[in-house]
């Protein structure tokens, strides 16, 4: 009975440690991934389609305010 309890506790602790390690690894790699995604999304190639859309913008006339 005592042995069974000790084994169960050891197994629970081992599983908890394993889960903790997996989550910790995943969190740190998530940080790297999300930073990489952000930097990639800010690259000139990624921005090209958005910035190019201004070519279609109609410029305001002389009688309109220019400040922004």
């Amino acid at each position: 009975m005592t042995v069974a309890v000790v084994v169960a506790v050891v197994v629970i602790v081992a599983v908890a440690v394993a889960v903790g390690l997996v989550l910790r690894t995943r969190t740190s790699s998530d940080g790297v991934d999300s930073f990489r995604r952000q930097i990639d999304a800010l690259s000139p190639e990624a921005r090209r389609p958005t910035v190019d859309q201004v070519k279609n913008v109609e410029r305001p006339g002389d009688d309109e305010p220019e400040d922004q």
Binding site: L42, P44, N56, P65, Q68
Partner: protein
């Protein structure tokens, strides 16, 4: 299904970028109301044309000053009407990214997001104007190099150093091109004894205003109301007079650029000498301003190809890559 939107809620103009479509609205941030009933009579360009020319029962107002909401209710109504014009209804509630000055307070942030949500947005997030401007001006902010952007708007002037997708140094002053117009109005009233409206002051700024002497300088005829007689009167204004009238405002903007330069880490500072600083925003179009900043900082100043649209284009890019760039929102955990 609503298309998500990016909004540059400027003191002077409001621009809206629709995901997948580009800039769909570019209108002055003005609303005209019936003073007695509170009914909205016009927004945007139509309302702007009414400024200073309305009968007693109509009031045409700019609900934002210094980049901040001065009248929450009117701003909300203006945003709602602008969103309706780009197809937002109670059944189509888009995600919205709004560009705001980086120096706004927590209360002002909440006022902007609440106004957007009440106006029909499903979710509203904020992004700093200089960051959006740097994205829209196509600066290489994804690289570990110093990018400096100066955004001079109607009510605020912000200078930021950006590297690797984040703001490294920032300096903001609640001074912009409306303060230049006000300085011209005050000068003409004080020195020539005539009252002029804010639209006339803006026309003077555009026609002969400058921050530094330029090659082609002409005088301008200014028409207003004589403060003594009450009759219409014309006076001649020279570019030197306008320069001296706006000197305090220009100095304040240049000083904030210098303060930002002094905050930048040395490794990035050296990049500015090679890459220069980029000027965006309508206020940056003031003649001689780039030259003045360049003269006082000894750093090259370049004008963005899209000075008026850079901010909304940057926010539009964030909307296009929402998941990847949501960490750039104000208040997001970095």
């Amino acid at each position: 299904m609503a298309r998500d939107l990016a909004i540059d809620l400027g003191t002077a103009n409001t621009l809206v970028y629709m995901k997948g479509r580009g800039i769909v609205l570019n209108e002055p941030s003005v609303i005209a109301l019936n003073r007695q009933t509170g009914e909205v009579l016009a927004t945007g360009r139509e309302a702007w044309q009414m400024i200073g020319r309305t009968p007693g029962y109509i009031v045409a107002v700019r609900p934002l000053r210094g980049g901040a909401i001065t009248d929450f209710e009117i701003t909300e109504r203006m945003i709602r009407l602008l969103l309706q014009r780009v197809g937002v209804s109670r059944f189509t509630r888009p995600k919205v990214v709004i560009c705001v000055p980086s120096a706004i307070t927590e209360v002002e942030r909440r006022a902007v997001t609440d106004a957007a949500r009440r106006a029909g947005a499903a979710d509203a997030n904020l992004i700093e104007q200089p960051m959006a401007a740097a994205i829209g001006a196509d600066l290489p902010i994804d690289e570990p190099v110093g990018n400096m952007v100066i955004d001079i708007g109607g009510g605020t002037s912000e200078t930021a150093v950006i590297s690797l997708g984040g703001i490294v140094a920032l300096e903001a002053v609640r001074v912009g091109s409306f303060d230049i117009d006000a300085a011209i109005q005050n000068y003409v009233r004080r020195e020539h004894g005539i009252a002029i409206g804010e639209r006339t002051a803006e026309e003077i700024k555009v026609a002969i205003g400058s921050a530094d002497p330029t090659h082609d300088e002409n005088q301008a005829e200014v028409r207003g109301r004589d403060l003594m007689t009450g009759l219409p009167k014309t006076v001649i204004l020279t570019p030197e007079e306008v320069r001296s009238a706006i000197e305090d405002v220009v100095s304040s903007i240049v000083s904030s650029v210098i303060r930002c330069l002094s905050k930048a880490p040395p490794e990035l500072s050296q990049d500015f000498l090679v890459r220069g600083m980029y000027l965006v925003g309508g206020g940056g179009l003031l003649r001689g301003l780039a030259e003045r900043i360049e003269r006082e900082t000894e750093v090259p100043v370049r004008m963005s190809n899209v000075p008026l649209e850079a901010v909304v284009l940057g926010a539009g890019h964030v909307i296009e890559h929402y998941e990847a760039l949501k960490g750039m929102f104000m208040g997001a955990r970095r």
